[in-house]
Symmetry: C2
Subunit: 696 residues, 2 copies
């Protein structure tokens, strides 16, 4: 049987890709709508593609340099020879996930708007299918990468299982680096365009959002695609692959041999099939309200989760019959993802009390809405931490962490790894509901810009508003899975270095200093990304002001704005600005390693994980709540659009933009990238450091 | 010699208190100025005293309850019998420090304004003398508490040295609890009054700051005293005592016996004498500019530090001659405090680039100034972390942490404790320069309210502006010392529980979960305190609006506002609102202890330390920079007062208020209180917990 399992996993990966392709072409063959719609959509697509191409070029240089460095290290025997190549495939597939997801999103936007002209259900189906392309591409490519490398290493190179997992662990670095570039670059692009467009358009000139007279409006829509779609895809690709390979490594160090590797791979494979089945349950009736729309999306996710849980139980019964309780680790992961998603929604959706109360803070102006929004974000960190904590405890105990056996501790940690895999197993469909959001958002923009009937705009608004909720849920998922994955990676790191060589006690000064430095890194990183948004947005503001001043007839709608120049500015500045934060993520673990040694690295990883987790949740939820508080006021509450309350809420939303779409989600990747880089350079760092020279 | 040392330390404490008394009466006998000035000052004093009395009553109930609980636990042998009493003395002395500091501050405000009528130097001298009362009271009472208890336990109860330090460690909890109440309560009071006064006065009605027509203006000035003076005093009292007793405990566990205890006590005693000498060097010439004023304050601090360093070297040479290098631990602590203070100033003073750049963000409105301010605060966390890290490394190695001896590790940690003591040794004078700030602030308010000549106001403005810088430095100090003290307390905790009973490896799930929960606590705590400020400020807004509406002639200056009612609201709401955050600090370690056990507690303490350190710096520095960016604009830059830029900067300042004066500084105390509570309940928690019941 052992021989067939990797190929079965490979087959599931291929099935996912085939389904993605089917969805891709079924969306693409839908009509695009009026000429105007097609033209706007094509402008957005061209802008997005132009960005991605130049991003890949820039990132390509980085990958080439890293390839050479890793190659040299391999040549001198400091890394296994597969690392440089796996580094490339990880980066390539991660980038490809984002590319395909974005391609379909930029096809689907006008088609969704056009579908909404017929009915709400048509609009929903197209947008969701586009999301499904993204979701299935991510899981398909992820599992493809894992299974092909496994097959190569096992059947071609005949490596023993512990060397296979050890080599595969280092593969994540390519995906992480790519993800960080995509998230940070895309995040800067989207928010620079958004903030820049709003500051001049809404505030100074007084034209509505998505107004075609605003020269930055196309850039804003491009941004939704490169940030929320391509960035998110690369991010979750990385979590997905990271969770499977770190769990596999933990399985081997727990002494479970090849079955310990197969279980996470197969749970992921099962999740793919479950996700595909789930996608068929997503549809809605005309005149569906927000709640009905949401439940139609949720139905798909819940069905997939249930299938996944049952099938995983069977799987564990077959492969690890002595450890039947492990299914609770998988289920606790699945549940934790759903629960964190729910509480993210609770804190950020205007159907619940916190965001409604936040909207009421607008009564006393922008300062109080900012204070209360920050405070809401901070408060919202508590429950996800408790959920993750409970999930860790359950997974650890369910997997025999306290059984008293020799490998009890390792088994427990394997369980924690399994819960991460469980949480991400249904990524195919959870990501589909998430990636659906920006498509609906773009569709609304296109409906507005091409002057479609108000009824269509109402429908796209309904879809978009739902998209905000699913985006919030998706972000909760991304953060939760990042925490569990990073945790599994930290443990994997300690196994790589060898626990005998480590003194990980918190009272060890190297560990303590590592913790302090690590906890500071997400703050520093967030500061860098937020400043980057600010700088890029300033450039957009200057350009938009220039166009309003210099292009005669623009304000009257008689002349067309120069959209290209705004896109060009966004492209250039986001590519320039993404370098420094990404460099921080790669260089920090190396410096800390050479100064503090491996103990310090573990401290740094743990510090970055725990403070980054809280900070990312805070930033995402503050941002989400401000956004929805503004929408709540725009819906006619607290004196509605144009009132002083609304102005205060716009300030909140503008502050929230870089919080929730640039800094917050990028921190997720940072904490994983730090671990990945540490793992790749583990043996190098283990060979010596400053503290050990000093005699410690 | 052994017999005389504790009495010598006691003598130094008494000398500090005598000098404080001398300063107290020399300030008090200065003339108060005009009747109007005396009347305003007396209103502020009465308001402040009314608050403190009611605060002590509320806190008294808490202390009574805790005394009974600790008494019962002692009765059943779960705590040493001294704990309940020491808990009381710690709380009493901490409260007394705040009380005396505030008493003199409320006498000195009108006298400083009056002194400024004669010359700048007179104003400076009075305000600084008042600060010196506070500084010397804090160190005097702190060392009094420590030395009396030591004398009692050693010479009356004849306890062995390890039991003495172990008992004294638990004493800090009283001081910590009192400090948290004082900081949180005072912080809520001061910012509720400030924000409330500004929101209606400046924004809605359009009258200047400190205008006597504003019903909340007296409450605002009262707030400066109860928050910035009494709160700060209790806070640093607690750091001071905590650093000495935790270092003493580390000395004993390193096997240094009684000399290990004497060294930190004597370094503190030396610091007192050095501080007193330093105070004589503070004076300035008339027409001194900002720089000359600052350097006159700095001169005192630098001279004290130099004396302290030299005398400590002699001390170590006599008491621990084999460990001469330990002097570098003390010096690294002294230097770290100064450096963190400098970088705090760099990031928050408008004489440097960061705050000037922040002011320029006002060009694009309040949203960008908020984003850039948050980002500035996040960025500013990096250098203090590196400074603390280097200071830990130096202290650890200088004290023989890598000597290879049996007790090498413990010796190294003792060195870290010494660096905390070193940093705080000159607290007598550093706190004096810090507590001087609110006095100058109040003096300015009184000058404004009693309509003194513009020249006087100019002088008090110069003093006040300097006060903002020293307050920033003081905050940096408070945070830095809190980090080192908390660190020493964590290590002391592990020694109390016994390392053999612990598995502190970061990969232990209990530790990891503890880290996650701990890192979240400062966020949750900050959210609670910020929300509290918001709620209390809302009540002030309603009351001020009511008075402007109902009191005829108020706006015209013909009728007097009802100041009392605003003070009353602040008192009531801050006392009510301080309960929940304080409860979090006390209950969290107990719950975590009973669920996760001692390993989890250590994780929690470390998590709270590392994330709290970064978060506190971020909040303090963002707030300070916003405040000074506003002042920079008010000084005529970027279109000056009343412009759109100014309005944007006011929003930033208003957001910064609860950041820098409530949440930020309170987090310092939280991280120490968590450790103190953990230490007191250590034996109880060690007896059993949920995870151990589950078999771990």
């Amino acid at each position: 049987m052992e021989k067939y399992i990797p190929f079965a996993v490979l087959a599931c990966a291929v099935i996912a890709l085939v389904f993605a392709a089917v969805n891709f072409y079924s969306v693409k063959k839908k009509p695009e709508g009026t000429d105007k719609m097609a033209s706007i959509s094509s402008k957005i697509r061209r802008g997005a593609m132009a960005y991605l191409k130049r991003q890949y070029k820039t990132v390509g240089v980085f990958f080439a340099v890293m390839f050479v460095i890793l190659g040299v290290l391999s040549f001198f025997g400091m890394l296994t020879p597969f690392v440089p190549f796996a580094f490339l495939t990880g980066g390539l597939f991660s980038g490809l996930s984002g590319f395909i997801g974005m391609k379909i999103a930029t096809y689907a936007n006008s088609r969704t708007a056009n579908g909404a002209r017929e009915s709400l259900n048509k609009g929903l189906k197209i947008a969701f299918s586009s999301g499904a392309v993204m979701g299935l591409t991510v899981v398909g490519l992820g599992l493809l990468d894992i299974s092909i490398w496994f097959i190569l290493l096992k059947f071609v190179f005949n490596l023993p299982i512990n060397q296979i997992t050890s080599a595969m662990l280092t593969f994540g670095m390519g995906a992480s680096s790519m993800a960080l570039f995509a998230r940070v670059g895309g995040g800067i692009f989207t928010k620079a365009a958004d903030v820049g467009a709003d500051l001049v358009g809404k505030v100074e000139v007084g034209i509505p959002e998505d107004d075609p007279r605003n020269p930055a409006c196309i850039a804003d829509n491009v941004g939704d695609n490169v940030g929320d779609v391509a960035g998110m895809g690369a991010d979750l690709y990385e979590s997905y692959v990271g969770s499977v390979i770190s769990c596999a490594a933990l399985g081997v160090s727990a002494g479970l041999n090849v079955n310990g590797v197969f279980v996470p791979m197969l749970i992921a494979a099962i999740g793919i099939i479950a996700s595909i089945i789930g996608t068929f349950f997503v549809s809605t009736k005309e005149n569906a309200d927000q709640k009905a729309l949401l439940s139609s999306l949720r139905r798909g996710t819940y069905i997939s989760s249930a299938i996944s849980a049952v099938a995983s139980a069977v799987l564990i019964a077959v492969l690890l019959p002595e450890y039947m309780n492990m299914i609770w680790a998988v289920i606790s992961g699945l549940l934790a993802g759903v629960l964190i998603g729910f509480f993210t929604e609770y804190y950020t959706s205007d159907t619940y009390k916190p965001t409604k109360k936040l909207a009421s803070s607008s009564e006393t102006g922008s300062a109080t809405i900012i204070i209360d929004g920050l405070s809401l974000g901070m408060l919202s960190t508590a429950i996800p931490v408790v959920i993750i904590a409970i999930s860790i405890i359950i997974s650890f105990f369910a997997s025999g962490g306290a059984s008293g056996a020799d490998n009890a501790f390792e088994m427990g940690l394997y369980g924690v790894g399994l819960s991460a895999v469980g949480m991400l197993s249904t990524l195919g469909i959870t990501l589909a509901t998430d990636a659906y959001g920006p498509v609906a958002d773009n569709a609304g923009g296109i409906a507005e810009m091409s002057g479609l009937e108000p009824q269509v705009r109402e429908r796209t608004d309904a879809l978009d508003s739902l998209g905000n909720t699913t985006a919030a849920t998706g972000k909760g998922f991304a953060i939760g899975s990042a925490a569990l994955t990073a945790l599994a990676l930290i443990v994997s790191y300690t196994n790589e270095v060898g626990e005998a060589n480590l003194n990980l006690a918190i009272t060890n000064p190297a560990v303590l200093i590592g913790l302090l430095v690590g906890a500071m890194l997400p703050f520093l990183f967030s500061s860098m990304t937020m400043k980057a948004v600010g700088r890029a947005a300033q450039k957009i503001v200057v350009e938009v002001r220039r166009q309003f001043k210099e292009i005669k007839g623009l304000m009257e709608g008689e002349a067309e704005a120069d959209y290209e120049s705004c896109i060009d500015i966004c492209v250039k500045s986001s590519l320039k600005e993404m370098i420094a934060p990404a460099a921080l993520g790669i260089i920090a673990p190396i410096i800390v390693g050479f100064v503090l040694g491996c103990n310090g690295v573990v401290g740094m990883l743990a510090g970055a994980l725990v403070s980054g987790f809280a900070l990312a949740i805070m930033m995402s939820n503050s941002g989400g709540a401000w956004d929805n508080a503004k929408k709540y006021i725009e819906a006619g509450n607290y004196n509605g659009k144009g009132s002083e309350n609304h102005k205060a809420a716009v300030v909140g939303d503008t502050v929230g933009d870089p919080f929730k779409d640039t800094a917050g989600p990028s921190v997720n990747i940072l904490i994983k990238l730090l671990s990945m880089v540490s793992i790749v350079f583990a043996s190098l760092v283990a060979s010596g450091n400053l503290l050990s020279l000093l005699g410690l």
